[in-house]
Symmetry: C2
């Protein structure tokens, strides 16, 4: 299913003339990054410097760090990374940060590619206005040791809007704002070579609008409950399959009507609610977290459920922070374990 | 502060004539387990087999696995662990599990110590009635390859009741139930050598009631927001210090009145709400998660806050699942980094 998801997104991108730089914040796995690149992706996006270090170490090229790298020790690490990965790109949204990057790259005798990050209105990262975007792009272009690579515009909040029409309308409005900035930059001789952003939730809308040159899709490789309830392409069909599962096990069943499984707050992300149960229980069974180590499953009235030692399979509520709890993937084809892939970037949140 | 917390709990236990087997589910660290044992603890509790494997590998003795170990592969691992740690103890709450443990221990030619787990009424793990406790204790005692070690009674839900009097009243009522079972076992010739349970939230009440022989305290080593708001000993004073902190960094500050830090859903447990901000911001600053990688801090009206590259220090909302996101502790005395301790049991949720 993972391979079909990778192939399906690659085919979509080819058909719509847009490039992919999938986000490794989802999978944290060089094995998956290699498969995405083999299917045509330009490289991988990385949320943090630590994630990029792991990907570069594993030989993954075409890396773009999508959050600002600001501290002096981090910029020192960035220069070491640039030495091994000359095509590395980093985003920036503040003149002080651009100045620090320019000084560091000059001191290292290297050229660092910088993408100007533009806030789409959610006030997370990015410059706050078209004027600030223009000023920062000029600053980057004027710095001898920096290369102005383009712009980033990531509408994170919009990715999980469940109704396609609402998502499309809001993204269309936001993308008009981006288009205005791209035009202003172009008029100033700063036409962005790269316009990067988008995600699994908006990829079809982004591709249709034609402003982005590449998409930072992440979750499509695995899918999760949050995205499964979104109509991704406006046709009511699911273009990607649920490829990531958590196998839990019943460890206690002393009270009739319920059982306790070995997967709690330490086994999956909790901010997106309870995980749907994929298999191993009677219809109508409900799930409730029962602390750090366990969860309780409750069976419908009068129905008996699995006893101790039974396997209960869950859909992750939110894939990225769930993956970030585990050290390895167990790769299964049908019912056969075919490989174990390390989650090499796990915990690299800095 | 960690060392003072370890010493304070050890002194409390000595003064009250109760033993400690602190829970490694909190710290996942052999370095901390060793310090607890040096201060007088009997060993460490472990939530899962995988955690016990890591602790045993690091030479920690006196291990008690507090959740049932049920699957055939897990019992095989348990026997391998028993070979290296003959004083290992495991809890059980189901006759089928006791039978499987007895068969495995007999086949391995070893003696396994089993603690009968009693449900205090929260229906997570443990036998559901005094009769079931007696029957399971008899089954354990009758199995040649098992050693009946005692009982476990863990009131997890009660640990975080904020008001001391309510916590005391509920625990007193629950402990009366436990006491009845202990008396019934004793009358049957099955007096439990070990009565284990309790936690940071109830330790003072448990010690006063005199039914437990040892306490499974965990969070006291670090403390967290959940426990900081609990009156732990009924005197309104905090017996333990906040020893665990998250240093975040401002990575974006493009919008007046707010800033973005580099710590989001992947950097701390989220089920216990937002982390209080310990330092680095003006009074009245609020915290809001902003996705997997970031959070937003918002300053009071008209007050300016830290700019990019500033450090903002947070109190973990809930220590155990926060620790489970990191690979190492940075051990600080005053302002000096004095050591780095691996979180060797991280991710060992099975």
């Amino acid at each position: 299913m993972l391979e079909r998801n990778i192939a399906a997104m690659a085919a979509f991108a080819r058909a719509h003339g847009i490039a992919l730089r999938p986000h490794s914040k989802t999978h944290k796995s060089p094995d998956i990054a290699r498969r995405q690149i083999a299917a045509g992706a330009l490289g991988n996006c990385c949320a943090k410097l630590g994630e990029a270090e792991v990907m570069a170490e594993a030989g993954i090229g075409g890396l773009l760090i999508t959050s600002p790298v600001v501290s002096a020790p981090a910029i020192e690490r960035l220069m070491a990374l640039l030495a091994r990965s000359p095509d590395l790109m980093v985003t920036a949204d503040h003149p002080d940060n651009v100045a620090a990057l320019a000084r560091a790259a000059a001191a290292a005798g290297r050229s660092l590619s910088v993408v100007v990050d533009i806030d789409p209105g959610m006030h997370r990262t990015g410059v706050a206005s078209p004027e600030a975007a223009l000023a920062l792009a000029r600053q980057v272009a004027a710095a001898p040791a920096l290369r102005y690579a383009g712009v980033q515009f990531y509408c994170g909040r919009h990715q999980h809007i469940e109704a396609f029409a609402q998502r499309r309308d809001e993204i269309t409005e936001r993308t008009a704002y981006l288009k205005g900035i791209v035009e202003a930059l172009t008029a100033d001789g700063l036409k962005p070579a790269i316009v990067t952003g988008g995600g699994t939730g908006t990829h079809a809308i982004d591709a249709a609008l034609g402003v982005f040159s590449e998409l930072q899709v992440g979750s499509y490789v695995f899918m999760d409950h949050q995205y499964n309830v979104c109509d991704l392409r406006g046709d009511g069909r699911a273009p990607f399959e649920q490829a990531l599962q958590i196998d839990a096990r019943v460890v206690s069943a002393s009270t009739p009507g319920m059982a306790t499984i070995d997967s709690g707050l330490k086994s999956m992300a909790t901010e997106a609610g309870a995980p749907p149960i994929l298999s191993g229980v009677p219809d109508g069974t409900t799930f409730r977290f029962a602390g750090d180590e366990h969860a309780r499953i409750t069976f419908p009235d009068g129905v008996s459920g699995p006893g101790i030692d039974a396997v209960v399979t869950l859909t992750p509520p939110h894939c990225d922070p769930t993956v970030n709890l585990y050290d390895a993937y167990h790769v299964v084809k049908g019912h056969t374990l075919v490989d174990i892939w390390p989650i090499a970037g796990r915990g690299r949140s800095r």
